[in-house]
Symmetry: C2
Subunit: 336 residues, 2 copies
């Protein structure tokens, strides 16, 4: 059973999940079957459904058999999960100093396409919409489980972004705590609200619309821009223009619009940077803060074009070699 | 001139340092001369002193000429600095929403040996002592400059740890702010002190001595252990047993002892994990909090055996595939 342990000095949590690496040479890597990245062995390709845990959701022709081919989006539990949906979410004491929790949670994989070579940036619009509808459906389901405090939805694209399987997929993890990292972000937004009576992200969006110098694109309901304090070249933020603290609140129609906006943004980044590895993160309020006035959900895209080294680890300050205004101009001019 | 920009929503700072990458293909990478990692072209090797900025400190035979061979440890300004020792440390307003500072600071490289193939884990004891005496000397000098709030001393070993030059070296950066990441750690330690009247790190050290299950080694004045909530396999913490909030307070004798302890620890990790890439970080109080009762300086060694991916970026929670108690046992049994 994995364990969530808290550092008593920093209050940061870690997950100790030894099931993910049984042999010394596996340290830090999920156990991926040998050659799993080759199309001939890929467990995410149609026809190999029996090699994965049973599906939790699949978009497939009406009446077709679960865990058989025919699906266009498929969601399965991660075969090497960081957390397991058993145990309880109570704090336990090791002694009078250290505390931990059972590693309770849910860890799923969203297989974005039956095609091994597909990518969100190059799929057709309809397929990306289906992926985002699957995101929404799994997010809502996991958020409704009262044992969980946060749902973390993300995508690792390429080895530099930490992916272990080539076949296009995203991941969703439900966790029984609100981690310090999220708590700090919410607290800052709360302070801003208390000082100004407005959501800091709403104010940021209105500032970005006004100056325009970091804007990448806009749709009816979404805005895409390079943040003023981007941590890395082409860091990109996608946010709803209208205040909303959680991705839970999104409608079906807005999900499709978001899919289109993300697809266009990823296509621009892919073209501009020659298909870089990237992480895509949904930043949404904890599930019990679904409708708060101080937080504003958004997506962060972080191309992995620079190393996180000792300075970043020691100071928390990232060194970015590109001015965000330049990056925005570059992305605006990139034709897709 | 580099810029320090603050994210108004999260209060995190970034450094925008475009001087580090003039061409699009340089995004995120320091500009390293082609083939600089080959011994024949290495700018850190003796005889090529003119290819680096003029030295700030060198341990060299009495009377020998600066910036000429003969040195055994040499400290130079980074040729591609993240920050520059010019400008001022005042907050500037872009407008009513965004603020920044001039990227004022100092960024130096400590060349640890004239030998291209040397490593802290395999050098002789005397040489490691000299490196640590250079650390101390530069730390004290930078900490005495009232424009700076923090001195970040670190080492990136190997490409996975973000190093760009093979020749053994460490880096030291003085910055004009206390970053949020540090502020949060200090605040947590302060709360603990307020609640308990003791330093949380002192209590941790006494707990680790008592249980012994995560201990790696001990000297008269230092303790080495795998933290209870280690973020990655073989994360290792080295701390003075006696309370001290800043590396500034270390004596010459204690510096030599620390050098020995770090050398032994790195040698064990090198043997146990087959020479892994790692980051080594000094975590010390801000320079204006040199003697506070709530913080305790220490060294963190983070082997880079696992990827930081979307989950870690989105949640701040690291997934560790090894139980720290197992790692400690393994390191204890590793002969060097």
């Amino acid at each position: 059973m994995p364990q969530l342990r808290q550092n008593p000095a920093t209050k940061e949590w870690v997950i100790i999940a030894t099931e993910r690496a049984k042999r010394p040479e596996d340290f830090g890597r999920g156990i991926v079957p040998v050659n799993a990245n080759e199309k001939e062995k890929c467990p995410f390709c149609p026809g190999r459904e029996s090699q994965t845990p049973a599906e939790r959701l699949a978009f497939r022709p009406y009446g077709s058999r679960p865990n058989s081919p025919g699906w266009w989006v498929r969601v399965i539990p991660n075969a090497f999960p960081a957390l397991l949906p058993i145990g309880n979410n109570e704090r336990q004491k090791c002694d009078d100093f250290y505390s931990y929790m059972e590693g309770m949670g849910m860890h799923e994989v969203i297989i974005e396409s039956p095609e091994h070579e597909a990518a969100l940036a190059t799929m057709d619009q309809k397929q990306v919409e289906e992926v985002f509808l699957a995101y929404r459906q799994r997010y809502l389901e996991l958020a409704s489980d009262k044992r969980y405090e946060m749902v973390i939805l993300f995508k690792n694209y390429g080895p530099a972004a930490g992916t272990s399987l080539y076949h296009p997929h995203s991941q969703i993890v439900a966790i029984p705590i609100t981690p310090l990292h999220i708590r700090n972000r919410i607290e800052q937004a709360m302070h801003y609200f208390d000082d100004n009576g407005t959501c800091v992200y709403c104010d940021m969006i209105s500032k970005e619309k006004k100056t325009g110098e970091r804007l990448v694109l806009e749709s009816d309901n979404y805005i895409v821009f390079e943040p003023f304090a981007s941590r890395s070249p082409f860091e990109t933020m996608i946010a709803p223009k209208k205040h909303s603290s959680s991705f839970e609140n999104i409608t079906t129609e807005a999900t499709k619009e978001l899919a289109s906006v993300v697809r266009q943004t990823l296509a621009k980044i892919r073209r501009a940077l020659n298909n870089p590895d990237y992480n895509l993160l949904f930043r949404s309020a904890p599930v019990h803060e679904q409708n708060v006035e101080y937080f504003h959900w958004h997506i962060q895209i972080l191309p992995r074009v620079s190393a996180v080294a000792g300075f970043e680890l020691g100071s928390g300050i990232y060194i970015n070699t590109m001015i965000p205004e330049t990056a925005a101009k570059f992305l605006c001019e990139t034709q897709i």
